[in-house]
Symmetry: none
Subunit: 247 residues, 2 copies
């Protein structure tokens, strides 16, 4: 089905959960699932046993080492996490998240939903790579969902809100959205130039400051063309610096 989000499981532990996830993902018409560093390797017989044949009716599951690798061809990924994090990112409930997924897909974005491992959930570095956060409104006194159930909740809401009763949103840009690779390139370029300009002080703050800048740019849903434009800006601002003496 066109415009479906890719379902991405980071460091899943139990094959049973991967298999149960594949079954419900396929039930609701989604055909692409990715794994980041599954604990017990891949393929996994426990997953196959629980999937009720789902793997035979979807694209081959692709396995990646890191979230950055898994995201390279995606433009809009939401991290599904219960814990609120101190990040400058939008936080959606289920309806809002699916509305946004639908909007971004209508703009031509490939979208994804990222789920963390059973015991510990997503780590902050992974959440930082996502454009936003999806948090479920669960009962505060009993909030821990099974991983495959959490995935079932997301994909069934996607189906209900984006397929069964979709209202198409139109986008009026002729340039495609920037890929993760575009954004990575731009952020690397910016970090190089800022490092040369001794912007990061003390140097330990580099990672946090780059994360904050990245969050800012991610929220803008940049197009490919805008990334090119902004790289021109960085280049122009920095252009004569290498030829001068520092003060």
């Amino acid at each position: 089905m066109q415009n479906q989000p890719v379902i991405i499981l980071s460091h899943p532990q139990l094959g049973q959960n991967i298999g149960a996830a594949a079954r419900v993902v396929r039930n609701f018409g989604i055909t692409e699932m990715r794994l980041i560093a599954p604990r017990d390797g891949w393929p996994n017989p426990d997953a196959t046993a629980m999937a009720a044949g789902a793997f035979g009716k979807m694209e081959p599951v692709r396995v990646f080492d890191t979230a950055a690798d898994a995201f390279t061809d995606l433009q809009y990924v939401l991290a599904v996490t219960a814990r609120l994090r101190d990040m400058e990112k939008p936080v959606f409930g289920l309806s809002g998240a699916m509305g946004k997924i639908n909007e971004m897909a209508a703009k031509g974005a490939r979208t994804g939903l990222l789920f963390g491992p059973e015991a510990s959930g997503l780590d902050n570095a992974e959440v930082a790579l996502c454009q936003g956060i999806l948090t479920y409104d669960v009962d505060a006194e009993f909030s821990s969902l099974n991983l495959a159930q959490a995935i079932g909740v997301a994909v069934s809401h996607w189906r209900t809100l984006c397929v069964s009763e979709t209202t198409e949103t139109q986008w009026q840009s002729e340039s495609p959205l920037a890929s993760s690779a575009d954004l990575d390139g731009m952020m690397g370029h910016l970090q190089d130039e800022l490092t040369r300009a001794r912007f990061f002080y003390p140097p330990e703050k580099t990672e946090l400051m780059m994360q904050n800048l990245r969050n800012m740019f991610m929220r803008a849903d940049l197009t490919h063309q805008e990334v090119q434009t902004f790289r021109g800006v960085i280049k122009a601002l920095a252009r004569f610096r290498g030829q001068s003496k520092p003060d």
Copy 2:
């Protein structure tokens, strides 16, 4: 929680599914579950093992011999079934069903959702006792849901559509959003530096290029703090330029 539907499992076979169902039912704030003639009796240790403590945080599960017995204090029950049946009953999708549950609860009805056994689904006599039918929009080529997943789909949609607020996107920044003056100041600063760097060529394009850059930043909904940070970036990138010779 008031006005919640009672979750009723008819002739469930596997204790694991009953336990997994209880867990997700409780996750979404529902505290009453009933069983009709569970195959392996009740209580069931497999159910307890899968429930992650849910049974201790809900009303005791009540067991009945027949659907009619289980329904005596309920006024509005929907049968959740994939198969269309030749019955004069309304058939709802998830949104419609939850809207109806909400409406009936607001009228003072006690409501319920009835789920059939894993292998065979509900029989016609049980469906006949219900006020309507809830059918999920699943993929026709892979339509068989796990029982606990089917229950998770229903209760999460109930929560989303009947409990959570409809405008649910939150924002978790502690810094206030940037004012127009903040943004004007930043764009002016950027334009000055880019002009010095001879970025605008030909000069007639200045206005259009600044408009494009401004659109980009506006979409990011910058905070006051982020505008400050970005002005630091502009300053750092441009810092030595004034002291050097153009090439």
